[in-house]
């Protein structure tokens, strides 16, 4: 890995194709070429030069453009596989039965798809590793090419060796009759007029314009990496919250993901359009159209330093009506309505009645959120509540069981005490069914109405990564624009004291614009006519009927 010393005396890093100082071709291959490869301005691509330790080998792997393109293709193909069937998180089935769901709905293909892990592709470890490797490839490939290119463009000399100039695509050679200084002055003036930066060194001149366009791809990569980093940050605690809670009317609940905040659901409102279905509505069989979903809430906050569960000194933050497109916003969090449930049981009313006469001895209302042990109706009449199961699911050893804490199917075990039955009669009451476990009763608890309440499912979202994604996207687009709509034009000119002129030009894309500038300056300063070597090569090749040479020199980075 020795440095290569050029004939001009400059020592170049191993792998350099064109001398950094004078531009002489350094490799045999470059010497053979009639037009040099100006990609990266002939600098040594760092990774190509050292290949010793394991670290260097990994580095070189990721630096390779071939590897990068392969990773892009792999990412695209696998990502599109994930769109063939709905992903697991969008499947409406409990986690445990999701594999069965795929088989049931999509047959053998669904089973195969699920078994391969494609049904949860985007959060699979291997997909993330592929995307991560793509990120690594972008970073390393950019470092390996961008930094040497920047250094080389920054340090470029005005005076280049003839062998470099003659290998450019645009070359002109000839004699001028005017004095060398006059020619150089004229060229400088004209090029400056055309917004070129002009530097002179003795008999040599370098005019350059739009150098920054060479960095478009790297700017674009910075945006991409920022975007990927933003997506990754979602996993860091505090950056991304996506939770949901159910809050019933009248209930105050701690907000998951929003420490120290509580929400009270004061009222859920569902309004519908009161119209007779007609036209499209009728065709599609839609009876009712919602006009408004609204949850009136109060947001509370614990005082500073309060500990969990301490709701004694809650401070009211604000009242708000959450509606569609009007989430509650607070401290970077947004609270949306994601669902609702109408008419959950809140209170059940019963009348104590004599079964034979039908005479009512009074009514009790049992608040399901706070049932009492005993309801006294006066005159020696009382109802004792022995057992309450909110979601009755059957008996186990004679004891009523509940399947959940939600009042989906309330059942009660009552003891009815009246002057006639001072010992009390036991009655088990569930919806539409009464059991008298201890024999015949004179009295019964007759269902006498309900009160209900609604509940809202509220989703709590916070995404601090959005500004990062936004900035990443903007930088990405700026990079694309710089790389696409601007180009890097350079003109080298040497006028010897005897009037001999050598001129060369290079542009990384849009040769037309360069030629336009060249035509202008050639005419103004009376320079010899240039030739486009690619045209001559093409002609040569046609003559030799040897059409195997690739066009190089255009579209360089």
């Amino acid at each position: 890995m020795e440095n290569i010393t050029c004939a001009c005396g400059h020592s170049n890093p191993y792998g350099t194709k064109l001398c950094e100082k004078c531009g002489r071709p350094l490799t045999e291959e470059e010497k053979q070429n009639k037009v040099v490869d100006m990609r990266y301005d002939g600098t040594a691509i760092r990774s190509k030069t050292y290949n010793k330790s394991i670290i260097d080998k990994i580095w070189n792997f990721f630096s390779s453009v071939k590897v990068g393109i392969s990773l892009i293709i792999i990412t695209l193909v696998t990502a599109s596989l994930g769109t063939l069937l709905p992903q697991e998180m969008y499947v409406n089935a409990p986690d445990a039965v999701k594999p069965a769901y795929y088989e049931k709905v999509y047959g053998w293909f669904g089973k195969f798809y699920n078994n391969l892990g494609l049904s949860d592709l985007y959060s699979s470890w291997w997909f993330q590793i592929i995307v991560g490797m793509l990120g690594v490839s972008i970073i390393i490939a950019s470092l390996d090419r961008g930094i040497p290119l920047y250094k080389s463009l920054k340090n470029q000399r005005v005076k280049r060796h003839e062998s470099f100039m003659k290998r450019q695509r645009i070359v002109a050679e000839g004699q001028v009759t005017a004095s060398p200084d006059e020619v150089l002055d004229k060229v400088e003036k004209k090029m400056k007029e055309m917004k070129y930066n002009v530097r002179r060194d003795g008999s040599a001149l370098l005019a350059e314009r739009g150098r920054f366009s060479r960095f478009g791809p790297y700017i674009n990569h910075v945006g991409l990496i920022l975007f990927l980093a933003g997506v990754m940050l979602r996993l860091v605690p505090g950056f991304y919250v996506d939770e949901s809670i159910v809050v019933r009317e009248g209930e105050t609940r701690a907000i998951t993901g929003m420490d120290g905040y509580f929400i009270e659901n004061r009222d859920f409102i569902l309004e519908t359009h009161n119209n007779t279905p007609q036209g499209e509505q009728l065709k599609q069989g839609v009876n009712v159209v919602a006009k408004n979903f609204q949850t009136d809430i109060t947001l509370y906050k614990q005082p500073e330093g309060a500990i969990a569960g301490d709701t004694s000194n809650l401070e009211k933050v604000k009242d708000y009506s959450i509606r569609v497109n009007h989430p509650l916003k607070e401290k970077g969090f947004a609270l949306y309505q994601m669902g609702y449930r109408l008419d959950e049981l809140k209170q059940m009313n019963f009348a104590l009645k004599n079964k034979e006469t039908g005479q009512s001895l009074g009514e009790v209302g049992i608040d399901l959120t706070n049932p009492e042990k005993e309801y006294d109706l006066g005159n020696g009449i009382s109802i004792k509540l022995l057992v309450y199961t909110p979601d009755f699911s059957g008996f186990d050893n004679g004891a009523p069981q509940t399947a959940s804490s939600a009042p989906n199917n309330p059942a009660f075990l009552f003891k009815m005490i009246t002057p006639q039955t001072p010992e009390g009669e036991t009655s088990f009451v569930e919806i539409q069914n009464t059991i008298e476990p201890l024999g015949y009763n004179q009295y019964e608890m007759k269902f006498a109405g309900i009160e209900t309440r609604d509940s809202t499912t509220i989703t709590i979202r916070k995404d601090r990564t959005i500004p990062i994604l936004f900035v990443g996207g903007i930088i990405f687009m700026i990079g694309v624009a710089i790389g696409s709509y601007w180009n890097h034009r350079r003109l080298w000119l040497q006028v010897e004291p005897d009037g001999r002129v050598v001129m060369a030009a290079h542009v990384n894309k849009n040769m037309f614009s360069m030629k336009k500038d060249l035509d202008a300056v050639t005419e103004y300063a009376g320079l010899p006519q240039y030739t486009d070597q690619l045209d001559t090569i093409a002609e040569d090749e046609e003559n030799a009927s040897n059409g195997n040479k690739e066009e190089k020199g255009d579209n360089t980075l």
Partner: protein, 177 residues
């Protein structure tokens, strides 16, 4: 030579950072959906809740003692099953400096009182009406038990049903010296 070393070091550092970032992403996604209670070894979040007699129980008041913190509900069968065993072990360990605190998830006083009476539970039972403590401890499935050592640090997290022998060994774990 020096330059080569510098290059090797910088490349190693860059590759290590990138590998860490990928590793973190993969790990983070893999554990994202898992219900993670508070972390073992970290400070147990302090809380205060009211029991059936209206008495306040604050976790930090138990500093110096081990705490057996159990989250439960009356509808949860395994919770129901382990309660009598918890009560027996509470009787054994309460004089050795291990407290038991059962946190019910937002049920009515009536149901909780009925349950306590039915199993004659002697340890304090508090109700987390606003689910604030449940949220703070990130409790997903019941039963969930958090063992807190005398320094107030989480010593062990148990999700699912425990046998009486399990309960005894966990209480032994947080017993003060």
């Amino acid at each position: 030579m020096d330059k080569k070393k510098k290059r090797l070091v910088s490349r190693t550092i860059i590759l290590a950072i990138l590998a860490l970032a990928i590793g973190y992403t993969v790990y983070g996604t893999a554990t994202k959906d898992k219900v993670e209670l508070v972390k073992v070894g970290s400070e147990a979040p302090d809380f205060t809740l009211v029991d059936l007699d209206g008495e306040k129980h604050k976790l930090s008041d138990y500093k110096g003692q081990g705490v057996f913190l159990n989250f439960w509900g009356t509808w949860c069968k395994p919770c129901e099953k382990e309660m009598p065993a918890m009560d027996r072990q509470y009787q054994v360990f309460k004089d050795q400096g291990v407290q038991t605190l059962a946190v019910n998830i937002a049920q009515t006083d009536f149901e909780v009182q009925n349950f306590v009476d039915k199993y004659e539970l002697s340890f304090p039972v508090v109700i987390d009406k606003t689910k604030d403590v449940m949220t703070t401890y990130n409790v997903g499935n019941l039963p969930a038990t958090v063992m807190i050592d005398p320094d107030g640090k989480v010593a062990k997290i148990i999700t699912g049903e425990m046998t009486e022998a399990d309960i005894a060994s966990y209480m032994e774990l947080v017993k003060p010296e």
